[in-house]
């Protein structure tokens, strides 16, 4: 089991490949989010409901990066990505563990 956690950590360390390779081959924004501006470029207008709802979330680490690092070079973004990965892995594993403990009785 410990070995498997080491694999997870290794994957987190390698995860910046998930932004570097798309960057190198000029693929679109990697996280499936068009801002309203991009929508406007694509269809010529911003759908009213979309504009209203799109600013709903206030994520702590938007796009798996540190706040204020959006315009930094890809090296910085990679560091932000690894930090985000560690935080995310810790959070989901912790919550899953807690919920598992609550639900399991034997």
């Amino acid at each position: 089991m410990h070995r498997l956690w080491k694999v997870i950590i290794l994957l987190v360390i390698l995860s910046p490949l998930g932004i570097i390779i798309p960057y190198l081959v000029k693929a679109g924004s990697a996280w499936g989010e068009w801002g309203p501006d991009e929508i406007k470029e694509l269809v010529g207008y911003i759908p009213a409901g979309l504009e209203r709802l799109s600013s709903l979330g206030k994520p702590l680490l938007p796009d798996y990066n540190l706040k204020g690092w959006e315009e930094k070079p890809i090296t910085y973004q990679s560091i932000g990505y690894v930090i985000s990965g560690l935080i995310g892995v810790g959070l989901v594993a912790g919550i899953a563990f807690l919920i598992g403990r609550i639900l399991s009785r034997r």
């Binding site: 498997l4 997870i8 499936g32 989901v92």
Partner: protein
């Protein structure tokens, strides 16, 4: 083939689905979440809890590996089928729900209003379709047979594609359901005739294969290293 979406739209963001749709999707998910809790309450052993945590960590990190279509969009594996083989599809539903909630809340990946839809597509459709495809193909073959590895890969491919199809349908319904008096769409503006081929196309061509390879590699690795002693759901 037109790639209209600027990213993996299986994580539907806020604003793409109108209230009728996202409300309905939450309405569908609530009984599924309750059912999953009941199933785990009956079947989950204390000794399996670390595996649940590991599964959540794996799903989270594997989704960080965005695979690009050069000049186009990106997508990624979810790990829903390998998780189902390890911990069962109902536990997988809860695990992927936890992952999607954290992604939406902390990282802005996938919308808060769209959580019901995203949990349905990636947490329910993908694992259940993929897992039962795997079970059907693997039949009674021995646990470490080639047939099972291939069955797992096909499960991953089919599961992710059906999930993408659902996402395409949910998005494509928006201009029909929600528009102004003049017919201008309020949410996702593209019709079914665009969203379904776009979603299915990129997943059939690339992202489904990514899920298949991840599923087969993880399964083969776990079998070879013998870390998992009980394959209760395999």
């Amino acid at each position: 083939m037109v790639f209209i979406f600027g990213g993996d739209i299986v994580h539907i963001p806020d604003g793409y689905l109108g209230p009728q749709t996202y409300g309905t999707m939450f309405g569908i998910m609530v009984p599924l979440w309750i059912k999953a809790s009941r199933v785990l309450n009956k079947t989950l052993k204390m000794s399996q809890v670390p595996l649940i945590a590991l599964g959540a960590a794996f799903s989270f990190v594997i989704m960080m590996f965005n695979v690009p279509i050069p000049g186009g969009t990106t997508g990624h594996a979810v790990g829903g089928v390998i998780l189902s083989i390890l911990i069962g599809p109902w536990a997988t539903l809860l695990v992927i729900t936890i992952v999607l909630v954290i992604q939406a809340l902390i990282f802005g990946d996938g919308g808060l209003t769209a959580l019901g839809a995203n949990c349905f597509n990636m947490g329910f459709v993908l694992p259940f379709v993929g897992y039962y495809t795997y079970r059907l193909i693997s039949g009674n073959s021995p646990i470490n047979s080639k047939r099972r590895i291939i069955a797992a890969g096909i499960g991953g491919y089919v599961g992710l594609n059906i999930a993408a199809l659902f996402a395409g349908i949910e998005l494509g319904l928006q201009p029909i359901i929600s528009h102004t008096d003049k017919g201008v769409p309020l949410y996702s503006p593209y019709p079914l005739s665009i969203t379904v081929p776009a979603m299915l196309g990129e997943h059939l061509m690339l992202f489904g294969w990514v899920e298949a390879i991840v599923t087969m590699a993880a399964f083969a690795y776990l079998l070879r290293t013998n870390f998992i002693k009980e394959w209760e759901y395999a």
